[in-house]
């Protein structure tokens, strides 16, 4: 019989290596899978991981898709480190898009140079306002933030749907549920000519650096880390739990809101019913792959973005089903969690259990 036993000292080298191990596991499984399907695995890997990057446009698309994943992932990672389980980044993203998009529609076709800064600001504030609801409910009534943030996703999406069906509907749009297109001054300028990638990626990478400094070098960042690693110690040290919750949710609301406005003021160029294919949820995986570390999240976001593009290329090139994208993302997370389990625990062979009393349940806190 085997049982899991906690290791005395988890290896720090291995905890950095585990994303690489997970990526290797994903590739090996993918190789077997493609072979079993009768497809050439090397060609599939080429389509999946190389072809999307073989043109300037492709690299632009990679960065474009990385932007919202990175922004949401950053905010989530900071929160997860402090034991704040915000899984509603998608809703905060939507609210950022609504707030920033509302400002864009208010400016109309004006070429005011205030338009873009105000839109970005409104996007950030919109996301923060939406995240303030779970922060208030959690700190005031001890409501579970997992449920509240998740449910607020659907409310935000319905609000967007109502706006584009009703008050903000394009009068020239034959009744279709979308707003007018934003003016030139209300659209973010393109970073690399011939691509769609905007300045959003620059903001996102800049914020990753700031988040790194914040979490490693500031006292507020330290307090949040302690709260995540050892809540009792944080309480003993007199660190306010409420303040941590507020900071965690406000930061994520801000970055997710920015992601939302960057998406609608960037490649979409208007408000419409569907603005995100689930970036806020995919960013949860991004945060974990990035080891909840701001710089790690940059790589996590790039990898997730590549998996989306690769899935499309594999469909076009080899006629593989689109489920392949989700499959690879799932494999990656699965191997990552498996690797983490063995970093914190080891398998131990034990003899037949003699004692009739049940064994105490294993606490897997900190295992993921």
């Amino acid at each position: 019989m085997l049982r899991l036993e906690r290791r005395a000292t988890p290896s720090s080298t291995m905890s950095i290596a585990s994303p690489l191990l997970a990526a290797a596991g994903m590739l090996v499984t993918g190789f077997l899978l493609f072979s079993a399907l009768g497809k050439d695995p090397l060609e599939a890997f080429y389509l999946f991981f190389i072809k999307p990057l073989s043109s300037t446009y492709g690299i632009g698309e990679l960065l474009l898709k990385t932007t919202p994943l990175l922004l949401c992932g950053l905010g989530l990672a900071l929160g997860f480190r402090a034991n704040v389980w915000n899984i509603g980044a998608e809703g905060q993203l939507t609210m950022g898009a609504i707030a920033g998009g509302g400002v864009a529609l208010w400016f109309g076709d004006s070429d005011s140079s205030f338009a873009m800064p105000l839109m970005l600001l409104a996007g950030i504030l919109g996301g923060m306002a939406w995240a303030a609801i779970p922060a208030f409910l959690r700190t005031r009534f001890n409501t579970n933030e997992i449920l509240v943030t998740l449910m607020l996703v659907y409310i935000a999406q319905l609000m967007l749907s109502w706006l584009v069906h009703g008050p903000w509907r394009d009068p020239q749009g034959q009744n279709y549920p979308q707003s007018q297109g934003f003016g030139d001054a209300e659209t973010m300028s393109v970073l690399i000519n011939g691509t769609r990638v905007t300045w959003g990626i620059v903001y996102a990478v800049g914020l990753a650096l700031i988040a790194w400094v914040f979490s490693e070098k500031t006292f507020a960042g330290f307090r949040m880390q302690v709260a995540g690693l050892a809540p009792a110690a944080a309480a003993y040290a007199g660190f306010s739990e409420k303040r941590n919750i507020w900071i965690a949710l406000m930061l994520c609301g801000a970055t997710a809101g920015l992601a939302g406005i960057c998406e609608v003021a960037g490649p979409i160029g208007r408000l419409q019913q569907e603005i995100s294919p689930g970036y806020g949820f995919a960013a949860i995986i991004v945060a974990w792959i990035g080891r909840l570390h701001p710089i790690g999240v940059v790589f996590g976001a790039l990898l997730m973005s590549l998996l989306y593009l690769g899935g499309e290329a594999a469909q076009m090139g080899m006629g593989l089903p689109s489920a392949i994208t989700g499959l690879f993302q799932g494999l990656l997370l699965f191997y990552l969690l498996a690797a983490d389990l063995f970093i914190y625990f080891r398998l131990k062979r034990v003899g037949v259990v003699e004692s009739p009393e049940p064994k105490p349940a294993i606490r897997v806190e900190g295992a993921v």
Partner: protein, 363 residues
Amino acid sequence: MQSSKIWKTIRLCLAAGLMATTSVAAFAAEPLKVAFVYLGPVGDGGWTQQHDMARKKLEAALGSAIKTTYVENVPETADSERVFRQLAADGNKLIFATSFGYMESLQKVAKLFPDVKFEHVNGFKTAPNISVYEPRFEEGFYLIGVVAGQMTKSNTLGFIGSFPIPSVMRNVDSMTLGALSVNPKVKMKPIWVNTWYDPGKERQAADTLIAQGADAVAQNTDSPASIQAAQEKGTYAFSIDADMSSFGKKAQLTGSTEDWSGYYIAETKKVLDGSWTGNRHTRWGIKEGMVVMAPLNPDIPPAAVKIFEDKKAAIVAGTLNPFAGPIKDSTGKEMVAANAAMSDATFNSLNWYVEGVEGSVPK
């Protein structure tokens, strides 16, 4: 300066080489590459499945003259633009975009690839290299109404709508008009679920309508959930896009389905012989075979079947227009005069309920 000159020369050589290879390829009679972009998975049992069946029929019909590719699950977000662009860059010369929400990204990509031909379902923006195609869904829904009006016992019909956009409003309105043409006592209750495909929500909507007494419920959403609900509760339902009777043999009375293959084959042939043009808006109905009624349920009495068949024949012959006047809206105001037909402008932007529909259109 010198190095930039050398670089220019290299680039010129490369470009010349590239042009030479492409023109050689053109002589070698390569198959025409045709691509399809789908909103849902090919196995959705409805909308996307019908498009993919037509794609397979197209391949069977034109054989080695063409090569088809498809991309499924493409959301109506910023992602669709990349997919269209990539397909065009990969050498696809004819691209079918099978969801309304691809309209804006199609406009952008079509400008970048003037030699690629685009076909867009249900849209309203065309271009020199974009043509639009649309089934006359209203014919199918009118006939659904004719069956529903005769089979309902509670005189209450239901409609599960996706989004209150003109192409869906036409269906709730034409179904109501069809039902009223055979049963002046019927009332129609619509529910809007704000999604094209969400079996959970569709099921909830169906249960709600049945609980409110609607015993014949049609849908404009893509899953068979409402047919399953009707089968369990012993009421009637109608399929959309595909025949869904395998999900409820007793419940499904008929349905409005699409066969896109005729159009896909015709348009591909036009591209092959060079006669394809953009800026067209094609609307095909039952006559052209794009709208196909699902088989009638054997429980429908022969007299009701006769009325259904007569009306269907009249639609095919062009003597019955579902939107012929007089038509009043749900507040009783006359919208289409007697002896007139609905204008194209009204038809294209329809946003009101006809008399007989309860409630108000969500704004």
